[in-house]
């Protein structure tokens, strides 16, 4: 029973992981690539960890798997946010089809009102 569940979880997780890699290859700019990579890869890794936890049922392995999962869930959004902010500030061009750039609008508004540049 647990073997079937593990097999299914690993197949689902590896499909998510492959879709993340495909998104990183095919998406048009840094910011869209990043959202494909982070969301799908955390979901895929969660499936791998749950499947492995069903197979390795001793306490030490469960604690290690839980710590990997907790650490990844905390750090992935942080690192994605940091790369996105750094890329935006380094003036990496957005995709031509981008419809909303609120930070650019806010900067232009601040400039029109004569305020000093923010953050």
């Amino acid at each position: 029973m647990t073997e079937v569940a593990t097999g299914i979880l690993w197949m689902v997780g590896s499909s998510f992981a492959f879709l993340a890699a495909l998104g990183v290859l095919r998406m048009p700019d840094v910011f869209t690539r990043m959202q494909a990579s982070t969301k799908a890869s955390t979901l895929g890794l969660a499936c791998f960890l749950i499947g492995a936890g069903l197979q390795l049922a001793d306490l030490g392995s469960i604690i290690r798997l839980l710590s990997i999962g907790a650490f990844t869930l905390v750090t992935t959004p942080v690192s994605a946010h940091l790369i996105a902010r750094a890329a935006y500030r380094a003036d990496i061009p957005l995709w031509d089809g981008t419809v909303l750039d609120e930070r650019r609008e806010a900067l232009e508004r601040a400039q029109a009102n004569g305020q000093p540049e923010v953050g």
């Binding site: 079937v4 197949m11 993340a20 890699a21 890794l45 990844t72 750094a86 003036d91």
Partner: protein, 88 residues
């Protein structure tokens, strides 16, 4: 079922790492490469977890923890580098 799931997962993860390496090589900017490197780190953690569970050698889970930690620190370092004005 477990046998097939393990084989399938290992093949898909290897293919995903290859696809991410294509993006790592093609760029075109440094943030693109950092995103690809971050993804490769997470994929390798998944690969190690699957191998540890399927072979029963749970000592390799420690390696997975270390790789997750180092990938995070590397991404932070690259983000600081890009933000200081080295976009290439």
């Amino acid at each position: 079922m477990l046998e097939f799931g393990t084989q399938f997962a290992l093949v898909m993860l290897a293919a995903a790492v290859l696809v991410a390496v294509v993006r790592l090589v093609r760029g075109p900017t440094l943030p693109d490469r950092v995103v690809a490197q971050d993804l490769i780190g997470i994929l390798v953690v998944g690969l190690i977890v699957v191998l540890a569970a399927s072979t029963g050698v749970h000592a390799t889970l420690d390696a997975a923890i270390v790789i997750a930690l180092i990938a995070f620190v590397a991404t932070i370092a690259y983000a600081t580098y890009v933000e200081k004005g080295h976009p290439e």
